[in-house]
């Protein structure tokens, strides 16, 4: 037993020393606001929220990775108000979120696409008689970003964007680009398209935009999987942005909060070119009609891509929850969390953290009754 004694003694000592030294000083961080106020700020913060007792327990959800940055803000805000509650969110992707919600492993979920009929049926079966709540919790512009020395912004018509991403426009000094940018000093650099390699709601949204805005050029049906072969691609928003930064003459689409110092495209809508901004994206959502024929608690949007003055490539990411849960604690947690999520405070926190567009009051008023109806059944 010498060997096992010694190696185990070794690793035990190692782990033990590390564990002890770390366990002695580890903790969850104090809320940033309360650092000065000796913890007194904590209680006032709780009071400023809902008129209810502090919630406790663990709640796990998952889904669209686009929501992650905002979700981090929501979770933090909610956990600060309810120190005994822990909210987890697995950014596994929209499909994973919908599946997990359907089989009950996620109590709430985020999805970049609305549930289709089949998924809705599965979710309703899981949730029970009360049915499903679905609403747009997160609206964010998708920027078309590029890396060209000395150029911060370019104007492009939807057909031009589609041509570039299809690989038909291959050089930055192509006429189609030059025509809309008479003042820009366009280099002859080859265009390198970078797209998302994972299945993603951002991709689906962008494809959908191209399909609607430039139907003659972009003929592929949007599916979440990039239809063009042999192009550069990368994992996640940070991946595509990193790839674009690494190359010259590269272009991609990514959640607007990610594009950092890259150049961005002002997208042609009608006769004008619109730079991406949270406000312009919010406008699209506000002016697009709600999907008809759904239940009261399902608030989904039919995005219109050609409303003048709005930024048409807006990602609308939905939140999913049940109206009834098996136990009171879960129901309260979900209700409390979603209430915070759609509240003005929550939406502002997301805007600060993820550059998203806060929900309009109209939409908030339309979805709050659904959230408030969440109960144990």
């Amino acid at each position: 037993m010498n060997l096992s004694r010694f190696t185990r003694a070794g690793s035990a000592v190692a782990v033990g020393v590390l564990a002890l030294s770390l366990a002695a000083c580890g903790s969850d961080p104090e809320p940033a606001d309360s650092a000065s106020g000796d913890g007194a700020a904590e209680s006032t913060e709780t009071d400023s929220g809902e008129e209810m007792a502090s919630l406790a327990g663990q709640l796990s959800g998952g889904g669209a990775s686009s929501q992650e940055a905002a979700m981090n803000a929501w979770r933090a805000g909610f956990q600060q108000a309810n120190p005994d509650a822990t909210i987890n969110y697995d950014p596994v992707g929209s499909g994973g979120g919908r599946t997990g919600f359907g089989d009950g492993s996620y109590k709430f979920a985020g999805s970049d696409a609305a549930l289709d009929d089949e998924e809705l049926a599965a979710a309703e079966a899981q949730c029970g008689e009360g049915g499903v709540i679905e609403f747009p919790g997160y609206v964010s512009p998708v920027a078309v970003a590029f890396n060209l020395d000395g150029i911060d912004s370019l104007n492009m018509q939807p057909e031009t964007i589609a041509g570039i991403f299809l690989g038909e426009i291959t050089s930055w000094d192509d006429e189609a680009i030059a025509a809309d940018n008479p003042d820009a000093d366009l280099p002859g650099t080859a265009i390198t398209v970078v797209h998302r390699s994972d299945e993603s709601g951002t991709t689906e949204n962008f494809e959908e935009y191209l399909h609607v805005a430039a139907p003659d050029v972009w003929t592929a049906e949007p599916s979440g999987v990039w239809p063009v072969d042999g192009q550069e691609s990368a994992q996640g928003n940070s991946g595509v942005v990193g790839a674009v930064q690494a190359g010259q003459g590269t272009i991609t689409y990514a959640d607007a909060s990610q594009v950092a110092e890259l150049g961005t495209v002002a997208v042609g809508v009608g006769d004008e070119f619109v730079e991406y901004s949270a406000e312009a994206a919010a406008e699209v959502v506000a002016q697009s009609p709600r999907t008809e024929g759904t239940s009261d608690f399902v608030y989904t949007i039919e995005l219109e891509r050609d409303i003048p003055g709005t930024y048409p490539i807006a990602l609308v990411s939905y939140s999913l929850a049940c109206t009834t849960y098996a136990d009171e604690a879960t129901a309260e947690l979900v209700r409390g969390f979603l209430t915070y999520l759609v509240s003005e405070e929550g939406q502002q926190a997301a805007a600060d953290a993820a550059g998203s567009a806060p929900l309009s009051d109209t939409i908030r008023q339309a979805i709050l009754p659904g959230i408030e109806s969440i109960s144990a059944g």
Partner: protein, 319 residues
């Protein structure tokens, strides 16, 4: 006469000198070239390795602080430069520790079985299947552990122990293989010498075989731990992610350092209003990723060093 002998002596001396100095230039050149290539191999290998360590250190050291090591990421989001990796460090230590507790005894005992007892179909199939097992992709090991536990505990199961089981599946074959190699290197003379003294077989294995190969076994186990401590994919599907501290491997999600690194990298840039740099750092997620990578490497380094010291202190002085 003497003159003749003298000439003969000088002659043979000159011939001998010619023999002893006439090294074949071709052979000498080959020797030189190979020596150069071997030094060069080492040099070019050291470049990326040193470069990587240097990058991780330079990028990661800026994030190092007591807070970074002793706080979790609970309630930290966006460009907030606060918080730390405490939860991930503990998660990694606990999960890897459990994986090692499962794998090391099974692995070493299997190696002993193969080297000392193994005969017939069972030994052949164990050898064969250990080989097969090394081929399990890490993500598949994760899926296996997940579905095993999900069978009993439902699909929302995310616990440290599930990750530890996944890591064990990856770790056991590595332990078996390296320990088998090491045990095989123990000369049979030693075993026979022990038997000749009337020492029973199990005691021979423990006192002679294991003791002789303890250094090699430690290396093997360390390599195996090193192999799994940085695994990301299987932990993503089995342990999940969390921002809060959880020291209980049997309940709730845990964070681990590799997963933390990957998650932070994936979060990418945080949107920061211009001018406000103190409370919002745009690339904080990348800094966190590099910082966690540095800590992960330091932990591995420390474990290695401790392992070696223990090995040096305890292994028998054969020479």
């Amino acid at each position: 006469m003497s003159a003749v002998t003298g000439t003969n002596a000088t002659d043979s001396s000159a011939r001998t000198r010619a023999l002893l100095t006439a090294a074949d230039p071709g052979r000498r050149r080959t020797d030189r070239i190979m020596q150069g290539l071997i030094w060069f191999a080492f040099a070019i290998a050291m470049v990326p390795l040193a470069w990587l360590l240097w990058t991780v250190t330079v990028e990661g050291v800026g994030r190092m602080s007591i807070d970074f090591l002793s706080l979790s990421m609970r309630n930290i989001f966006g460009g907030d430069p606060g918080g730390g990796i405490y939860h991930a460090v503990m998660g990694t230590l606990i999960i890897t520790g459990i994986a090692a507790l499962i794998s090391v005894p099974v692995g070493i005992l299997t190696a002993i079985y193969l080297v000392e007892y193994g005969k017939g179909w069972l030994a052949r199939s164990v050898t064969f299947f250990v080989d097969v097992m090394t081929g399990i992709p890490s993500i598949v090991a994760g899926l296996f552990a997940f579905s095993l536990f999900a069978l009993f505990l439902g699909p929302s199961v995310r616990m440290g122990i599930v990750g530890a089981v996944a890591l064990s599946v990856l770790m056991i074959p590595v332990v078996v293989r390296s320990c088998e190699e090491m045990l095989k290197l123990v000369p049979n003379e030693l075993r026979e010498a022990a038997y000749a003294l009337g020492v029973p077989k199990w005691l021979t294995i423990v006192k002679v075989v294991l003791r002789t190969s303890v250094a090699g076994l430690t290396t093997g186990v360390l390599l195996a731990v090193a192999r799994v401590i940085g695994e990301t994919a299987p932990l993503l599907v089995t342990v999940g992610v969390t921002d809060s501290i959880n020291l209980n491997p049997f309940e709730g999600r845990m964070m681990t350092l590799p997963v933390f690194t990957y998650r932070q990298y994936q979060q990418g840039y945080a949107p920061c209003p211009a001018g406000e740099s103190a409370t919002c750092v745009a690339d904080i997620a990348f800094q966190n990723a590099w910082g966690a990578a540095l800590v992960l490497i330091v932990i591995v380094l420390t474990l290695n060093l401790l392992g070696r010291l223990v090995n040096r202190w305890f292994s028998p002085k054969l020479r």
